[in-house]
């Protein structure tokens, strides 16, 4: 009947508001988790991890212990009320947790208690002193710094006297704190509370909620840090997965800003497409290729893979719609030999029919492949088949996680998806991609032709022009389309238009030459006429001058004759005589 636990609420609120300095943390070794908590769990304190059955509570606790023992030199104790020690060892061996080995090395001790309510009969007061004594003994013996109690709430079911169980657990949590061990206590998620029996009341430092939802056969796991006294922490719901290497939390929002931004360009394998993208894709970027059926999306993917393999890089091709053999055959028809890359060990193909297992598992397998194979380039071909069914948001979130994982791993990724004519239907991942290529079928004059446009390309000056996308027996090629008053023309319409243009040009040339000749002739004629006129002009001027000269002579002669007559009459100068007379 230990003392009450009331009153902790107010102090915890105050401490929370206070914030405080750097709280010492104990890293969990769980990828992603230590990032969102700024270093792990509060050192020397207890953390409550609560969730439903199969939500991953036990695994989180185990990984905390295994990482402590292996990586941080902190031995640990696990007290489990759920499984036998043997069963537990067997269950987690597949995750690479060698519990038996750690126990032999004195880095871990597992105590398993089977609590069977039917077996226990109560008479009078009791306490959990044996558990305290056992923990105390074990902590001393191996120098344990970490303790996990999984799932302690089962004790409520085992002992009818709830008041005693409650008091004893409260005492246990205080005791753990006094021992300054970093502890994880797991609880069962209650209907309207964090735990079924309200033990969050006693663990006020850090509370983590795990959630496992199944919707439309798609399983999604989420983790949320509900409370972390004295420490900043991400408050979102973080998706996590249980992969072949244990617990992995994918903090999409926090990691997204940490991506490196390499300047290096990676060829798409199609020269003119590289040109459209000002030199290719940025390494580590994500490209979305969307298009209607049969527009050559997979071929673009195969080109990317082919060129990466040719550079000696490892590539991963995840197929959602076809089998590897089908793809190899199809790509051979456009002159791409993927088989020899696969045989050379540079290409790994994984045909993953998404209906075969949940998205969760899918992500886990992908994560495993990335870790083990280490591809530089990945192509996810045909993700649209994931979106069948009404579980859009889950799928989008799942894809986001896959893309995030690939991006975080620095892998240049191409995602191809079937899009209907409506461009916006691309499952809401467009904001996650750096480059978006749209392939369209243009139908006219009884034929379908493919058009490629760059819808967006972050950080790249890219062409805004559509190109015709032609699949030849030596791969994909891009050709300038005819853009004219009649619109965009492709295929034979483009060829016809081009021929027509050539014809028109020729005719026009001939006409011009003819006209030029005519004009030249006209000029020559005019010049000739001009010369004749100028001769006439000169002749007429000359005649005019002669006439004027003759007139002057005649006038002079007449004057001379008059002077001579005057001199005969008065013998005076002509001028005086005349003037004087008047």
């Amino acid at each position: 009947m230990a003392s009450g636990h009331g009153g902790t609420d107010l102090t915890s609120v105050l401490a929370e508001a206070d914030g405080g300095g750097a709280l010492p943390k104990a890293p969990t070794g769980i990828r992603g988790f230590d990032e969102i908590t700024g270093g792990g769990l509060p050192r020397g304190r207890s953390t409550l991890v609560t969730g439903g059955t199969g939500s991953g509570k036990t695994l989180l606790g185990l990984q905390f212990l295994v990482a402590g023992a292996r990586e941080y030199g902190e031995p640990g104790v696990l007290v489990t009320f759920e499984e036998s020690a043997d069963k537990l060892s067997a269950n987690v061996a597949s995750l690479g947790f060698d519990l038996d080995g750690l126990q032999r090395d004195g880095l871990l001790v597992v105590h398993a208690f089977q609590v069977d309510p039917a077996e226990i009969f109560e008479s009078g007061e009791f306490d959990f002193e044996p558990l305290f004594a056992l923990l105390d003994d074990t902590i001393e013996r191996i120098g344990a710094k970490r303790v996990v109690l999984d799932t302690i709430e089962l004790l409520f079911g085992a002992f009818p006297n709830q008041a005693i169980v409650r008091a004893e657990l409260s005492r246990l949590f205080r005791w753990l704190e006094e021992r300054a061990v970093t502890a994880i206590v797991t609880g069962e998620r209650g209907d309207n509370a964090l735990t079924r029996h309200g033990i969050e009341e006693y663990v006020s430092d850090c509370v983590i909620v795990l959630d496992h939802r199944m919707h439309e056969e798609i399983s999604t796991r989420r983790l949320r840090v509900v409370k972390y006294r004295g420490s900043a922490h991400g408050t979102n719901e973080y998706p996590f997965l249980i992969s072949a290497h244990g617990f992995v939390v994918l903090p999409i929002t926090s990691v997204a800003l940490d991506y490196g931004a390499p300047e290096e360009r990676v060829s798409t394998g199609v020269d003119r497409l590289d040109h459209m993208l000002a030199g290719g894709l940025f390494r580590g970027s994500t490209v979305l290729v969307s298009g209607t059926a049969g527009t050559g999306k997979s071929t673009l993917g195969a080109h990317l893979i082919d060129s990466a393999c040719a550079r000696g890089e490892r590539t991963l091709l995840v197929l959602f719609e076809e089998s590897p053999d089908q793809v190899i055959r199809n790509m051979r028809s456009v002159g791409l030999d993927l088989r020899h890359w696969a045989e050379a060990g540079l290409l790994r193909m994984w045909a993953a029919r998404p209906t075969a297992f949940g998205l969760e598992t899918h992500l886990a397998i992908l994560a495993g492949m990335i870790e083990e194979f280490g591809p530089a380039v990945a192509v996810l071909d045909g993700i649209a088949s994931l979106t069948h069914g009404p579980s859009g948001p889950e799928v989008a979130s799942m894809l986001a996680r896959q893309l995030d994982l690939l991006k975080a791993s620095g892998i240049t990724t191409m995602v191809t998806t079937l899009a209907h004519e409506d461009e916006t239907s691309t499952v809401g991942i467009s904001s996650l991609v750096d480059t978006w290529l749209l392939l369209r079928n243009v139908e006219s004059d009884g034929e379908r032709n493919r058009l490629l446009t760059v819808l967006k390309s972050r950080g790249t000056a890219h062409s805004n022009q559509a190109r015709e996308f032609v699949l030849t027996d030596h791969g994909a090629e891009l050709i300038d389309v005819y853009v004219g008053p009649a619109g965009v023309l492709t295929g034979s319409a483009r060829l016809v238009q081009e021929a027509q243009e050539r014809g028109a040009q020729q005719r026009q040339g001939e006409e011009l030459m003819h006209r030029r000749r005519e004009l030249r002739r006209g000029i020559v004629e005019a010049e000739a006429r001009l010369a004749v006129l100028q001769d006439d002009l000169a002749a007429e001027r000359a005649e005019l001058e002669q006439i004027e000269a003759r007139e002057q002579r005649q006038a002079a002669d007449a004057e001379a004759a008059r002077s001579a007559l005057a001199a005969q009459r008065w013998a005076d100068p002509a001028s005086h005589g005349e003037g004087g007379r008047r």
Partner: protein, 113 residues
């Protein structure tokens, strides 16, 4: 396997003289609950099982690891090892009725005493 029939169903008669009761009581040191449990158990045995019982007291503070081996989480815990089946009674045994029911001695309670 003669025990369960006789003790379990409480065949109406007092326990057969040949029947022996193996009882083990887990305690932690000399805590008040531990002391009370020992006293309560001895009193009940003298009254209902005189001459047919054997009590073993196990102190878990002396050997804490025994708690894990014997699956003892709470003290005091009384284990009826014989006659089978094994029965566990948790508490200071202050409630004699509950103790007798737990030991499956209840039907005999009124008869011999």
């Amino acid at each position: 396997m003669t025990g369960p029939g006789g003790a379990g169903t409480g065949a109406g008669a007092s326990p057969a003289p040949a029947e022996s009761w193996e009882l083990r009581l887990y305690v932690t040191g000399r805590s008040p609950k531990s002391v009370r449990a020992i006293e309560n158990l001895q009193r009940a045995c003298e009254r209902y099982l005189a001459g047919q019982y054997h009590i073993e007291i196990v102190d878990l503070l002396e050997n804490p690891r025994l708690a894990a081996d014997d699956q003892i989480l709470a003290v005091p815990t009384l284990v009826r090892k014989l006659p089978p089946p094994i029965r566990k009674i948790v508490g200071d045994l202050s409630d004699t009725d509950r103790l007798l029911i737990g030991l499956q001695l209840r039907p005999q309670k009124g008869d011999p005493a």
